[in-house]
Symmetry: C2
Subunit: 493 residues, 2 copies
């Protein structure tokens, strides 16, 4: 599953001070006209000319200035192949100084820019909408420092999440976040989209773990907020504004992050429940009984399991023969194998007695653990293979999370397949509607229904994917008008 | 120990949008002229007249408009009796609407305002400098809601931390923060100062746990950011700016916070080390061996213990007869008594073998646990009783934390007593210099030495206390000029 990536929103820099801001140069109001008919290219933006190319070649070296059509095709298209830009230029800076020079130049030339990391985002935020210059951070992929006493890692923004995971593993630490897209996504994109993922229930969000950032503003100014301290109460903590700002405030170039020690004992259980209420009760039980060792609590419904079994290679039903209504994946991570296992077994026995689970399996080795994780992490890929998919990423109070799936299923009838899965422990539902092809009649049944329902029930229309191009104009469903106003006139365009 | 409280900085509201901001009405540039000779009252501010009093009486009711001298004396003076204002008016609003009306009126009348919570701050931020109107949130002390499924608590800002602790205890949950001042400090003040405290090593900072806020801006506008969701990636997360902004952006009126389930097994060990390097190695060992159950790692030096034994009532030396160079307090919190105890014992046995600890005791019951916690939490009070005290709250990389204590001790010689203690697990040193009375000759030896040393070693001059009046002009020791500039022209006055 690919769940994050830079939402390279081309809004202008938020003016934090009352001083005159530099002229806006990130393109205000981006959109794919094919799908978002109302958004037009801002004619104030210049188009690339040969002088620009010469400048960038001198600055970055010829091989870091990409005009090759195949490479541009990949950089223009998102992972879902749903959003497609028409940029003619991809730049690969290798240092903060180069990023700064690129942005300064683009600002002076009035060229729109889209920052890009691993391009694994799901909301159309990591690709150009029109002909923006793509600035990809992939060449800034060095670990800068690691402090084994404190567990603090400092790296460049283009480091791929999995490469950081591997680096830390060798040092006895882990990253506090884990995503299905870890093989492609970059830490800078993770930070810029406030990626959530599979370990949030244990280690909290990036607001909890990012200790410092370096970012380059649209005018080329380098903002050094690269603290490496766990605590620093000296004035406004501006880095939090950049976490989840989807590239709209600047380009993150370096990240300092607190990493937890690697613990020796990991257990994975895959369980079946007959109804949603049981999943919910199981979550409460797990919080109480597994307490400090609980590291994941994921769920998927029958539809999601059916898709995984039919479309993913090498996936077998772990609880045969028939499908169950709901599945829950529970992971524990601790420092004492025997006591962790005992804890898990006592929890499972009690849950069985209470009738919360109807079947279940505990992975006996790392292969078995991987194989159930592959089901959960493979659902997004299975959905892609099944045809067109409308994806919604909702935060909803846990009690109500499955109501929207059932209501939408009733509403759509045989028109489409409604699939629910996600991070139940965090109240985060991934609601996916699968159909043979994209169909405006289906979409009209889904939107604005999904947004209105979520708003009415106190939820958020984007739990972790961000707004991107897909939901840029939907911010009012989840934020108060006063908050949107305070964030500045560009925060919802 | 009282460690937090509102730093009621009277700076003007940060202008987040590019629209014209309301006229600034929080007093720019506050200072106690007696101690901070350069700060003068801004003559633009009006003074209270009888019409103002009538307005506030009509709005709030007579008993919530305090002009009584004794009550004003208490509200004008900070906990350390070091900072003293001369306000003639204390207001006690009972609702967000009343706070809004108060600020709107003060804004229109050009009256300076200082917000106040439990007034337990240590940097002169929670009391007036001149004659600001004191707005105390103590009457807004209701729990609004608590969701037992998710553990999300919503309360008014004036709730005393300990009353929330007790409320949650009855529901099987705990607050993610714990401070020595919990009997007086208010949750709104905790949020506004980003209070750290004793559980940060386990549950993270308030940036990790606060899910939403309601705040009133200086012009009376109510900003609703009171989300109750664990995840919400829809636009800039503005609440983070208010966390730790010390009242300078507005008055926090409601708080939504994620609370962890209460776990049944708590163990406390009090250990002696012969040198600082052993304390540091012990921390590494504890992270590895105690892993997910470690909930506190505090340290104090011989000087701190000596003060506690001499000035606190009912405190006895837990590791008699002589004093040791260093003491470490370790707490574990988990869900399984037997395995937690085994884990702790294995860790202690191994640390003894390695020579990291020279003596130690494990509390056998809650009284014994309380008695060692009282030593650690009572040091601030002991220092107050011992005479004048210069307090510094520093984040320093763990390897270097005790170097500054020793350097300062050498520098001051017999002039003063240098005391080091704090949250070693978070890299947070409380450096205190105790002398018979305040003495400018001593202060000249301490400052700017402490700030320069901390800055040179990549530390922060305020880990958790905030800047307040004490360090408002010292921000450049810990923040880059670009970050200070971006935060706005008022952020360092």
């Amino acid at each position: 599953m690919k769940m994050d990536g830079w939402r390279a929103s081309a809004r202008r820099i938020l003016k934090l001070s009352s001083r005159p801001a530099p002229a806006p140069r990130f393109a205000p109001g981006r959109g794919n006209p094919a799908r978002h008919g109302t958004i037009q290219r801002n004619p104030e933006f210049a188009t690339i000319n040969s002088d620009d190319i010469s400048y960038f070649r001198d600055l970055l070296g010829e091989k870091n200035v990409i005009q090759d059509e195949d490479a541009l095709l990949a950089a223009n298209m998102d992972w879902m192949r749903k959003y497609k830009g028409s940029s003619k230029l991809l730049l690969l800076p290798r240092s903060t100084e180069e990023v700064s020079q690129v942005l300064k130049y683009c600002n002076s030339r009035c060229l729109a820019v889209v920052p890009q990391g691993g391009n694994t985002g799901l909301v159309g935020g990591s690709v150009p909408v029109f002909d923006e210059v793509i600035v990809n951070l992939g060449s800034m992929n060095k670990v800068i420092s690691f402090d084994e006493v404190s567990g603090i890692l400092v790296s460049e923004a283009g480091c791929i999440l999995e490469s950081l995971v591997n680096f830390l593993d060798n040092n006895g630490f882990i990253m506090p976040l884990d995503l299905g897209s870890k093989g492609s996504c970059q830490i800078g994109g993770n930070v810029s989209t406030n990626a959530g993922g599979l370990r949030l229930i244990r280690y909290g969000s990036l607001h909890a773990n990012v200790l410092g950032l370096e970012a380059v503003l649209a005018n080329g100014d380098v903002l050094d907020m690269l603290g490496t301290l766990r605590k620093d109460n000296t004035g406004y903590d501006l880095k939090h504004l950049f976490i989840g700002s989807e590239g709209s405030l600047g380009i993150v170039t370096k990240v300092s992050i607190l990493t937890p020690p690697k613990l020796s004992s990991v257990n994975v259980a895959f369980l079946a429940c007959t109804d949603y209420l049981s999943c919910q009760k199981l979550l409460l039980e797990a919080r109480r009984k597994l307490g400090e060792v609980l590291s994941a609590f994921e769920f998927l419904d029958e539809q999601a399991m059916d898709l995984a079994l039919n479309h993913l290679e090498g996936v077998r039903n772990p609880l045969p023969p028939a499908l169950h209504k709901f599945y829950v994946l529970i992971e524990t991570t601790g420092s004492d194998e025997r006591s962790d296992r005992e804890k898990l077994e006592a929890f499972l026995a009690h849950s069985m007695e209470e009738g919360l689970i109807s079947d279940g399996v505990v992975a006996q080795d790392i292969q078995q653990a991987s194989s159930v994780w592959n089901i959960r992490e493979g659902i997004a890929e299975a959905l892609m293979k099944a045809g067109a998919v409308y994806k919604y990423d909702l935060s909803i109070p846990v009690e109500k999370i499955y109501d929207i799936v059932e209501e939408l299923r009733n509403k759509l009838g045989h028109l489409a397949r409604v699939v629910g899965f996600g991070h139940l422990g965090d109240g985060n539902l991934h609601l996916n509607i699968s159909c043979p092809q994209y169909d405006d009649a289906v979409l009209a049944q889904i939107e604005p229904f999904v947004y209105e329902w979520t708003s009415k029930h106190g939820g958020s229309i984007s739990a972790e994917h961000g707004l991107g191009l897909m939901k840029a104009d939907k911010i009012f469903y989840s934020k108060s008008p006063a908050a949107v106003k305070l964030a500045g006139p560009q925060s919802h365009t």
